[in-house]
């Protein structure tokens, strides 16, 4: 296990470096001019040149790349070219915000999905099953921007039950923050519910038909206990699998939701960094996304192998 983790970590570092290089190259393909982007098209060329010089944007590309890389290795991600504050400070609050949102979404969707999947599996073929399966599928395919917009209009503007934006005023308590995050979390719940329910259902069905269930029932143990002991444990597996495969996709979904709800999270920050050609900030955000993705898949893989004894000692690669 230890060697497995180490190897994965090593590969992850390599992947991150590749990612940084790809972003750097991509961001410099088109002749872009940070100073011009900040000062706008109507500013005098001399002013733009002065600003570019102050930002160090007129140095040779190789020098800029080396500076950034050597700093990043030491943990210094440089200064945002447009906001003139350290990238790490912007990243810190943005990641925290996105994490809060993702957490609320998970806390809502995991129990819902598992319960739905269990119900669908227990009452296979009946109305409950149909509702969960079809409902889940339909909810999954609605793009987040559509569900987000509808939710805002119905619950925030018309009914005024919940706030229009996701950002609670500074210094709000946990309860208030939660209230602000419910609406933006729901589109994420929609997207994930179908997958979790479906896989839990499949696990339920498989477990119900398995030999050990029949044996246990014959022995007189109630179905409920059997389910609790064996099935639930197997229900965790698909959840972890879903989390692993959907993380990358979730982060992308955050961009749209944070946009509509005006939320200063990682997605919104990346979007703005790209529009402003703010390379240090853009590289910082993509790095963080990469790290989150790689960490999540690693943890999910470990968790999966721990919980599923069948593959724990299987061949790796």
């Amino acid at each position: 296990m230890g060697r497995f983790v180490l190897r994965r970590l090593g590969l992850a570092v390599l992947t991150l470096w590749l990612l940084a290089t790809i972003v750097f190259v991509g961001a410099h393909v088109l002749p872009g001019d940070v100073g011009r982007r900040i000062l706008g098209p109507f500013a005098a060329p001399e002013a733009v040149a002065t600003l570019n010089h102050q930002l160090g944007a007129d140095r040779p590309l190789a020098a800029q790349y080396w500076d950034w890389l050597s700093g990043a290795v030491r943990g210094d991600l440089g200064e945002s070219l447009s906001y003139r504050v350290p990238v790490s400070s912007l990243l810190g609050s943005a990641v925290l915000n996105s994490l809060k949102l993702a957490l609320v979404a998970f806390v809502l969707v995991v129990p819902l999905g598992i319960l739905g999947g269990i119900a669908a599996g227990l009452f296979r073929g009946r109305a409950v099953d149909r509702i969960v399966t079809v409902g889940g599928l339909s909810a999954t395919v609605v793009p987040e921007f559509v569900s987000g917009i509808v939710l805002i209009l119905v619950f925030a503007v018309q009914l005024r039950w919940l706030p229009v934006t996701a950002q609670a005023p500074a210094g709000s308590g946990l309860g208030t923050q939660l209230r602000y995050l419910i609406l933006p979390a729901i589109p994420l719940v929609f997207v994930l519910f179908g997958y979790i329910a479906r896989i839990t259902r499949a696990g339920m069905v498989e477990a119900l038909e398995a030999d050990y269930t029949r044996t246990a029932v014959l022995k007189g143990i109630s179905q409920r206990t059997v389910i609790a002991r064996h099935v639930l444990r197997n229900a965790l597996l698909p959840t972890i699998a879903v989390v692993a495969t959907q993380t990358g996709y979730l982060i992308g979904g955050l961009v749209v939701i944070e946009f509509i709800f005006n939320y200063q999270g990682l997605g919104q920050l990346t979007f703005q960094a790209a529009q402003k050609l703010d390379f240090p900030l853009l590289q910082g955000t993509v790095m963080v996304m990469g790290i989150v993705f790689l960490l999540t898949t690693l943890v999910a893989d470990i968790g999966y192998s721990l919980l599923n004894p069948r593959i724990r000692y299987g061949r790796t690669e």
């Binding site: 011009r36 005098a44 002013a47 805002i152 503007v157 005024r160 500074a170 005006n262 402003k276």
Partner: protein, 561 residues
């Protein structure tokens, strides 16, 4: 009646020749009351005196915009949340170039003068000002008894240092292009503790606008302020608000400035400016009662607010516009008849109705918007005439042509492009649209590296200004840095010089009439319309003073009832 006349005479005796010339125009009925007041503020007369003279001597007045919300009975104190466009970069007086940034600058910072919603100039840190005989030197008297929010007293040298920095080619200021050809750092002179002289490169009748809130970078800062430092940590200034917290990308919170020079101001206790990257979430937040004020939205996004009784919409006649340029040195636009024809294909009232929801003024293919006092409105308004267009094209031998139109995908601009494309189809022309994003369209903003300046046809968005000077010179003069039409006409250049140097309204109008007629004839650039500036508030909010520039003055703002 005699008493009144006596008072008027007394006032006139104490005024300069220029001022009296202006009063003569008013008495003779050659200018309206509104124009009189506007010109008067430029010359440095106080609004009080102007108002009195206008009432006493003036003739008709023309209707103006539905003002700022009346500062009726407002409760003292309170906390307000205002939604503004997110500043696109660090808030630094040198580099701010966007509406969000300037709205933030205008809270803790103040200018020499304030260009208000009626395009009048109000004294702020300058108590009064006046030109010399030919308008080449302007003298400003600085207000006494003002302190910065860090305790330093305001002195003339602070004012001088501010303007020296912004007019310095090496200063890196976004305002440099405004001062190019008008003022050099050496021209800023401290006469004494209370007086600053601006010695201009050439006579300029509209100079006071260049040191007003229109030139939004020029908030007055202490002479010892380090422009390379971080404005965001200090927000030093003389304004009514003092920054209590600033969060990049999210919001800035202000409290009252206890040492503000206007006693009893500001009204509110706290003001929070929340940043919104896009219009839709801003407008939705107003409707959801999460914001008290929303600073700016376009006619299309604000559509749901217009007939909404729960919201107040503040409308300002602004001169922001779109320029449709046609390169005079490239086919098919080398012949001016072709350019005129394109201008004749536009149904301008329909454009204003359709693209702007009626919230705009018609444009007559020159920078002279109807709302400028120096605009000569006797020049006939160009209207749609497809037959005439066809004749002109035939005479020029261009019954069919193909052109690529470049622009970017914001606001109603793609719709305008589409409309032009369809209009041109009617007469056998083909337009291929190349709609990208602002960074691609503007490129490096220099000739040879910018679709904006290199494309054969394009649409560019221009923001509001208190006077048309910059619109007349930069995009249209032979050496203008924004001359996307590559229009080189020495007659035009001379007329612009004439206009800029003119100090009294009549001389300005004489020049503007000739300019308008020349531009209609040559039509290097089409100005289809000027669109209004709109903000919104809840019904219980009063005293909000937006400007078409994007400022939002909250000194008198409060909750009513």
């Amino acid at each position: 009646m005699e008493e009144l006349q006596h008072r008027v005479d007394k006032i006139r005796a104490g005024r300069t020749g220029l001022d009296n010339q202006l009063i003569d125009e008013l008495v003779a009925g050659r200018i309206s009351r509104r124009e009189f007041i506007r010109r008067g503020t430029v010359l440095g007369m106080s609004l009080g005196v102007l108002g009195f003279l206008a009432a006493a001597c003036g003739g008709s007045s023309t209707p103006s915009s539905t003002a700022t919300s009346a500062a009726g009975a407002v409760r003292k104190g309170g906390t307000m949340t205002v939604g503004i466009i997110a500043p696109s970069a660090a808030v630094n007086p040198l580099t701010v170039a966007d509406e969000g940034g300037l709205a933030v600058l205008g809270q803790a910072g103040e200018y020499l003068t304030w260009s208000d919603d009626k395009l009048n100039l109000q004294p702020v840190l300058a108590e009064s000002w006046s030109p010399n005989a030919d308008g080449s030197v302007w003298t400003f008297k600085i207000r006494q008894g003002v302190t910065f929010n860090n305790g330093q007293p305001l002195k003339a040298e602070d004012v001088a240092k501010t303007f020296k920095t912004h007019s310095d080619p090496k200063g890196g200021s976004s305002a440099l292009s405004a001062f190019a050809g008008v003022l050099k750092p050496a021209g800023v002179e401290v006469v004494d503790d209370q007086t600053v002289d601006f010695n201009l490169d050439a006579p300029n009748g509209n100079f006071p606008y260049l040191v007003s809130s229109d030139n939004y970078n020029t908030i007055i800062l202490p002479a010892n302020y380090d422009y390379a430092g971080k404005y965001e940590s200090s927000f030093v200034g003389t304004g009514p608000w003092k920054m209590t917290s600033f969060k990049t990308g999210a919001e800035v919170v202000y409290g009252k400035n206890p040492s503000y020079w206007q006693s009893g101001s500001p009204n509110l206790d706290t003001v929070t400016l929340k940043f919104y990257a896009d219009e839709q979430p801003r407008v939705l937040a107003l409707q959801g009662k999460q914001l008290d004020v929303v600073s700016q939205f376009s006619a299309s996004t604000g559509q749901p607010l217009f007939n909404n009784p729960g919201v107040k919409v503040l409308e300002l006649r602004s001169v922001a516009h779109r320029q449709v340029h046609m390169r005079t040195d490239k086919e098919p636009f080398t012949d001016k008849r072709v350019r005129q024809a394109i201008g004749l294909l536009l149904d301008r009232p329909a454009l204003v109705q359709g693209l702007l929801n009626g919230k705009g003024d018609l444009g007559n293919d020159s920078p002279f918007a109807p709302v400028f006092p120096s605009t000569d409105t006797s020049v006939a308004q160009r209207a749609k005439d497809v037959e005439k267009a066809k004749q002109l094209l035939a005479a020029a031998g261009k019954s069919s042509f193909t052109v690529t139109l470049a622009t970017w995908n914001g606001y109603e601009i793609p719709l305008l492009a589409q409309t032009i494309k369809e209009a041109v189809q009617q007469v056998g022309g083909t337009i291929n649209l190349n709609v990208t994003n602002p960074s691609t369209y503007y490129g490096s903003a220099v000739f040879g590296k910018s679709p904006w300046l290199d494309s054969t046809m394009g649409i560019t968005d221009y923001g509001h200004r208190g006077v048309p000077n910059v619109f007349l010179s930069a995009p249209l003069t032979s050496a203008g840095p924004w001359n996307s039409a590559h229009f080189k006409n020495s007659g035009y250049d001379a007329l612009v010089k004439e206009y800029v140097a003119a100090i009294d309204v009549q001389a300005q109008k004489a020049a503007s009439k000739k300019i308008e007629e020349l531009l209609l004839d040559e039509s290097p650039v089409l100005f289809p319309y000027f669109h209004f500036h709109m903000s919104g508030t809840q019904t219980n909010v009063a005293g909000v003073e937006p400007t078409a520039m994007g400022h939002i003055r909250l000194t008198k703002t409060g909750f009513s009832g």
